[in-house]
Symmetry: D2
Subunit: 280 residues, 4 copies
């Protein structure tokens, strides 16, 4: 029962490499999360527990895959930027997209009880993933700007919509009708005049989404010297610390970094200027 | 903050359709499951709980995706056959491979406590997936024969190897040395003469892997008639029953099917002859 | 000035193999041949010289590439079937499509003076090419049927159209108006009643297009024996004859074949039954 | 005989777009030109007529396809740069590679008599083509540097080789042996000391290959004013002139350009600085 006479079927696996030297965006989206959020009683318009779970899964993914240099999440979707020189899985597309989606999914279930301690999962949720190649820095900035602009548009609508329903007593049909054709400014106005909500004071997590970056941990002093007070890094979330025993004198070690979740604007240039490591 | 000036980035998403009219195999493999099985104390050479969990996730996937007409699993891998006319996700490759891998992963974690009630997951496991197109029936039979021949070769080796280690007191290095260069017959001989193990009596699940097929449920009598004894379907695992309320008299409903997990030979023609629906 | 530091750019060439075990159709079309045929005074509705030149180029292509087992041409397009096991250029798509299109183009110019002895080429004509994979025999039959049905539809229309213009004195606008909305039978009627043309008597080359097949040359008798009268092959267009000196007694040589241009129906099964070698 | 029931076969044509926003290099190579050059008695090591014919075909291609902004040729190969925003044939790969290869081939035959007035083509030559995407300017410069470095290496070798054979009386085997293991400097030395050839004085066409660029034609004066002497463009090879009648006052017309064939260095930055339009 040797398998050799059947092994030719392996030749049908076609190569699917990403073009070298291009940035790669990996985006995943929740599959049927409208139903999933209903079944699990997510708060409307935003459920902080669910968003933090997404962020946690995203952080875990970035910890596992150091070639991811940026993450951006909103609602049930997350985008990740792979640095253009990445050779992850020899840049094979199906391998990358399936493994990253799988690991994120796994983390989502693994950390679920941390954020929903009293809410059992009723059925297994899933995500779809895709890879998109971008040749230059401009396209990358525009990609992430596109996602954050989307966050803004959706969240403003949803905030107004649910205010009309939850506080204004409208049916969902009525609320949609109220908002139909309104521009941004009018939605701000509705929120402020009817519900005393200043949209700009809404939690930045909801308005801006979540941005995950790697930041360098300031260099510690010589290891056998007692660190001065200023040198102490008291962060509790240090990621990927370089193991002391592995540090070699001759070889300059890569700077230690940790992941940081921000809820800041990424459309203006200042974000990119403050994080030059993302695109280089 | 309209997103319209950024929306051009969507044009970078390239189409990736599968060729129409071809069979598609979706195979997934555990990522670093050597370590995962060690950390979670899987029995050697086979852990029945882990194999049953794989089967359960595979069944759940086939229940969710009716276009999967066959599943075959061994160890930490599973192959699925999508019927050649499937239009799942418009046959988009990244969508299919990521979603199916994600859902399987999700089920693996979701059902983990069922099979490991006392064994907490230490970290999130993941899988990679791939899609392979095959133009004809011959290649499909040969593909699944290839996987089952692989099951046989691996399991015979592992059975002999762990017998040498666990019962024969050899180190793993010694056991590898003992088996080096042996052919199938010699491994049978080692098992029988030294450990009184008749390999052919080893659990078929280990020797043959798991085969999941859809089988038709015999038609029930008219719904408002009491079923005769013969008509009773007492299976507890009926899948995809046609809801009574949805049954229309004019439209012939698709036959009701249920999933069945077998541990049988799929290399000889008889399997394919007995399940003609798989390839047509 | 060593090139080694630049050679990395070669890595950007992505693999593009055809799926193994599938039939491959190569189709080429004349680029802007409406203008080309006007500039070179092609007869309307069909120019026999131009069609024969297309056939000649197609035959030359099939002579050069033995893996092409069938050709079908109409107007300024030609389709070729590559047998499913072909390993031409390791099945690389760009290599195949560019080389075959180039060689056909080259033959078109090379043999132009043979068919247009008094008509100089005014400018260089070109063709585009494409490759399409088909998994099974049914799709191949349907592909070639599709092209021949197209030939029929176009030629019937064009024959009626140019009869109205050339013999009926209509302007082209009037002729289009006359034919608008007519079905096949009505076009036959117009041709017959107004112009005494029985469409079924129109040259089969125009009605059916050109079909190029490889046919076996009957085996000759022992070389040192005088051939009997029946054994004489008096064809003047023997292609790819096996060189006598290369014939080995032990090894059965492939049957000698020659190309044959037909103008027959290929939609009915009888064509395929009479040429079983095409699909096997 | 409607074709509609067969038309589904068209669905098997898969999309093959180039990634947007990337530079595209189209390279073609002569197919079996070693034999072709022998059969047509090309001079060794370089045949100026054959090189000029290649240049002529390349110029014709660039005239026909304005999106080609640079050409580079050596021996029987030519590379062309398509500007990154090109939407030629909706960026469909097979369409582009087949059409461009076909048109170049057609021009090669069309202009053959111009360069070989007494040398009939013995058989139809052909070319293969390929497309390669590059995300950035650096890769484009390096690509063309790679080809010119190749030109240098090959031509120095061939010049020395044929000097040894034609003037030194060596057999080709002996000449290969003489050159085996020699570095660039040693080949210069052989040429100079034995054959009094200063390699740097060899025709730049052979040493540098052919570079085809588009250069702006200096603006003419107002059309209804008699041009001053300085304004007269007496070039005889003006390409793509803007037709006077189409010039609109409101719309600034694109600058008039003509093609120029150079034999200059393109590895150093100065070439790219002097032709800023190529990469922007």
């Amino acid at each position: 029962m040797s398998g050799s006479k059947f092994a030719y079927v392996k030749n049908y696996e076609l190569p699917d490499p990403l073009l070298p030297g291009t940035f790669v965006v990996f985006r995943l989206d929740g599959h049927s999360f409208h139903r999933f959020s209903d079944e699990h009683n997510f708060s409307k318009p935003n459920d902080t527990r669910a968003l933090k779970l997404m962020d946690h899964a995203a952080e875990a993914l970035m910890k596992e895959y150091p070639d991811i240099v940026l993450g951006f999440g909103e609602s049930d979707e997350y985008s990740f930027l792979l640095r253009k020189s990445t050779s992850l899985y020899q840049r094979r597309q199906a391998k990358i997209v399936s493994t990253l989606t799988s690991y994120f999914t796994s983390c989502y279930l693994f950390y679920w009880p941390t954020y929903f301690p009293n809410g059992l999962l009723k059925y297994p949720p899933s995500f779809d993933g895709r890879l998109v190649m971008y040749p230059g820095e401009k396209e990358i900035k525009d990609y992430f700007s596109w996602r954050q602009a989307d966050t803004h548009i959706n969240n403003l609508y949803n905030t107004a919509f649910w205010a009309l329903v939850q506080q204004g007593g409208q049916t969902t049909t009525e609320a949609h009708a109220t908002l139909r054709g309104t521009v941004s400014k009018q939605k701000h106005e509705i929120l402020f005049s009817r519900f005393d909500i200043n949209y700009n004071n809404v939690d930045a997590r909801f308005r801006k989404g979540s941005v995950i970056v790697r930041v360098e941990i300031p260099e510690l002093h010589e290891e056998n010297e007692p660190p001065t007070k200023e040198g102490i890094d008291d962060s509790t979330t240090v990621q990927n610390p370089v193991k002391a025993g592995k540090t070699k004198k001759k070889k300059k070690s890569a700077p230690k970094t940790q992941l940081q979740v921000l809820h800041c604007d990424i459309i203006s240039d200042s974000f990119w200027n403050e994080h030059p490591g993302i695109l280089t």
